[in-house]
């Protein structure tokens, strides 16, 4: 382990730049390329209203005559050119991808955040309090692990659909997705945090805090939580990729984002109908985007895991 002696007046920014993590990042081309790809995609999603040539959610701009235009070729009827072509309804594929990514990423981030909040809280409690609190939390986790998470998500989705009135279903769909994926994904956060908490709680700094008279809550929040965040960060990254894929899978199965507000998964479902009829681009570009997004996030997660693992340093 190397530690540089920082003078107290170096700025936060330069400390971050000089940190071991940043150094390891600069030494790992895979991480840099992945980070670049992810940032481009996220930026593209955020700036979609500015970047996208069309607004695919606005039916007024659609021209059915533009349907099935191949990439970068003028449409036979209207003469319009679309970089990545159009789908059956004449929606620009590039624009649908940019807007679709917004939904995919939003669902992904929100679901991971929910899973993290739930998992970290329950994991901390299970690890620190122990006893029957731990038994209950971890048995629920065990039971949930025996179901494939996509099944759990579909179950939650189904129940939510049953209890929401039909007129709100499309609006609610995205929130239900977040809930479904988030609830199916908290287990691994809880397990990892519980394990790390068990290690940390026996360390002497926690005993010192107990001796000082800090409350359990305060010890968990202020002492243990900051020290178990490294593995959480790694899992969150990898979970993000999984959540985006889960969202795509659910949407592909038709239980996710509605066709009026398509996510990447919905786009792939729409596209696969035309896979064998020659209109490959409707499927290919959304699928390639999903692949690039999930792969880069995963590679980033792998790098983060190695970089944060003190034993590999």
């Amino acid at each position: 382990m190397t530690t540089s002696s920082n003078s107290p007046n170096t700025s936060r920014l330069s400390r971050a730049w000089n940190s071991d993590l940043a150094w390891s990042f600069r030494q790992t081309p895979v991480a840099m390329v992945s980070a670049f790809v992810v940032s481009i995609l996220i930026l593209g999603a955020i700036l979609a209203p500015l970047l996208a040539p069309y607004n695919p959610f606005d039916p007024a701009t659609l021209n059915l005559m533009n349907g099935f235009t191949p990439p970068s070729q003028p449409n036979a009827f209207t003469g319009d050119v679309f970089v990545l072509g159009t789908d059956d309804q004449g929606r620009d594929v590039l624009s649908t991808i940019l807007y679709g990514m917004r939904i995919s990423l939003f669902v992904g981030f929100a679901a991971v955040f929910l899973a993290m909040l739930l998992g970290v809280t329950l994991g901390l409690m299970a690890g620190y309090i122990g006893g029957w609190v731990e038994t209950i939390i971890m048995r629920i986790a065990d039971i949930q692990l025996t179901f494939p998470s996509i099944l759990v998500a579909m179950l939650i989705f189904g129940i939510a659909k049953g209890v929401t009135p039909p007129e709100y279903r499309d609006q609610m769909a995205i929130w239900v997705l977040i809930l479904a994926i988030g609830l199916s994904d908290w287990v691994q956060f809880a397990r990892v945090v519980r394990g790390a908490t068990l290690v940390e709680k026996n360390k002497e700094y926690v005993q010192a805090a107990r001796l000082i008279g800090r409350s359990q809550f305060s010890i968990m929040l202020r002492h243990i939580l900051p020290n178990v965040l490294n593995p959480v960060l790694v899992i969150a990254t990898i979970s993000l990729a999984l959540a985006i894929i889960a969202e795509a899978t659910l949407s592909f199965l038709g239980v996710g984002a509605p066709p009026t507000k398509p996510s990447l998964g919905t786009l792939i479902r729409i596209g696969q109908e035309f896979m064998f009829s020659g209109e490959w681009w409707i499927l290919f570009f959304p699928a390639a985007t999903l692949l690039a997004l999930a792969l880069s996030i995963n590679l980033l997660g792998d790098w983060l895991r190695d970089a944060l693992n003190p034993r590999l340093r």
Binding site: T3, K203, Y205, A208, L211, H223
Partner: protein, 321 residues
């Protein structure tokens, strides 16, 4: 009477049974480990009382019970005449609690790596809502570091410096008693002497009382006024330092003294002690030391020796005189 701490008949039993399901399937009984058994001693104000013993002797468990990190199974710890386990008045308990602090063995685990030194040192006061302005800086200088170190993180310090930070933290609430659990055993010799000197100075300047827990006889000999020797959770001998080192009464104490390597013991050939420390879950009958004792008689395996007073020494051995 000027005893600041009275430990009375202190016992701690740990349940070390396997999980319920294993016990049912394997038909195992519950098993218990008696880590500390009927330990009695008093610590005089402004003195250093040392507990020595090998692993499994229960010395750290006693330390944790004295500061209140562990509850006693039976017996009591009285601090300033107040029994912490039975006292109902929360205010009194809190006042006593803030009078006892602890220094831990591992300076790398006893400081939260994510906290700045300033916050670590001031925590005992901050947790009680006290004024912490300038406190850490003042304490850092008191333990021989510089006030500018308050802005650093623990990883920027060496082991000895970290132990100084731990000492500074333990001083923050202005305690009267500090329990030191192997405070220098993770440190190198040259740094150990710095830390021990600092602790001596602080004891003198601030009028502190130390309960000093260690396995290192040379450190204990330097620091302690009175020493208790523990074996398998029981106090086997207690005496003022000079008495203990000049005439150890218990055969275990004698064995410890003989076995400890000496820096002037060039090429010393000693008959190494027999056997190892027995399993604390199934301790030997009678005197727990009898299987290893060179002087043991048949009586030793049958009846447990009571603490007897011989001169300034208290010793639990049938044969000691």
């Amino acid at each position: 009477m000027n005893a600041i701490i009275k430990v009375k008949n202190l016992t701690r039993v740990f349940d070390v049974s396997k999980p319920w399901l294993n016990r049912v399937i394997e038909r195992l009984p519950k098993s218990y480990l008696t880590a500390v058994s009927e330990v009695d001693f008093e610590i005089q104000r402004n003195s250093v009382y040392a507990l020595v013993g090998e692993s499994g002797s229960g010395k750290s468990t006693i330390g944790k019970m004295v500061v209140g990190l562990l509850n006693a199974s039976s017996g009591a710890v009285e601090v300033d005449g107040i029994d912490l386990s039975s006292e109902q008045d929360a205010e009194k308990v809190d006042a006593v609690r803030s009078n006892i602090q602890m220094i831990f063995q591992d300076p790398f685990a006893s400081l939260n790596p994510r906290w700045k030194v300033r916050d670590i040192i001031a925590e005992p006061v901050a947790a009680r809502g006290g004024d912490t302005k300038g406190l850490s800086e003042r304490l850092l200088e008191q333990v021989g570091l510089s006030a500018a170190d308050a802005d650093k993180y623990p990883h920027e310090f060496s082991g000895g410096q970290r132990q100084r930070i731990c000492i500074a933290r333990s001083l923050a609430s202005e305690p009267k008693i500090i329990v030191c659990d192997e405070p220098t055993s993770a440190l190198d010799v040259s740094v150990q002497s710095q830390v021990l000197n600092l602790m001596s100075d602080l004891q003198e300047d601030l009028g502190l009382t130390y309960l000093f827990i260690s396995h290192d006889l040379t450190v204990v000999q330097h620091m302690a006024d009175k020493i208790g020797v523990l074996y398998l959770g029981r106090l086997v001998e207690e005496a003022p330092r000079d008495v203990l080192f000049s005439s150890p009464k218990h055969p275990y104490t004698q064995m410890l003294f003989d076995a400890a390597p000496r820096i002037d013991g060039f090429g010393r050939e000693v008959e190494p002690p027999k056997g190892e420390i027995p399993d604390a879950i199934n301790p030997p009958s009678g005197c727990a030391f009898h299987p290893r004792c060179p002087m043991a008689t048949a009586d030793c395996s049958k009846s447990r020796p009571e603490m007897r007073k011989i001169g300034d020494t208290r010793v639990a051995c049938h044969l000691a005189e």
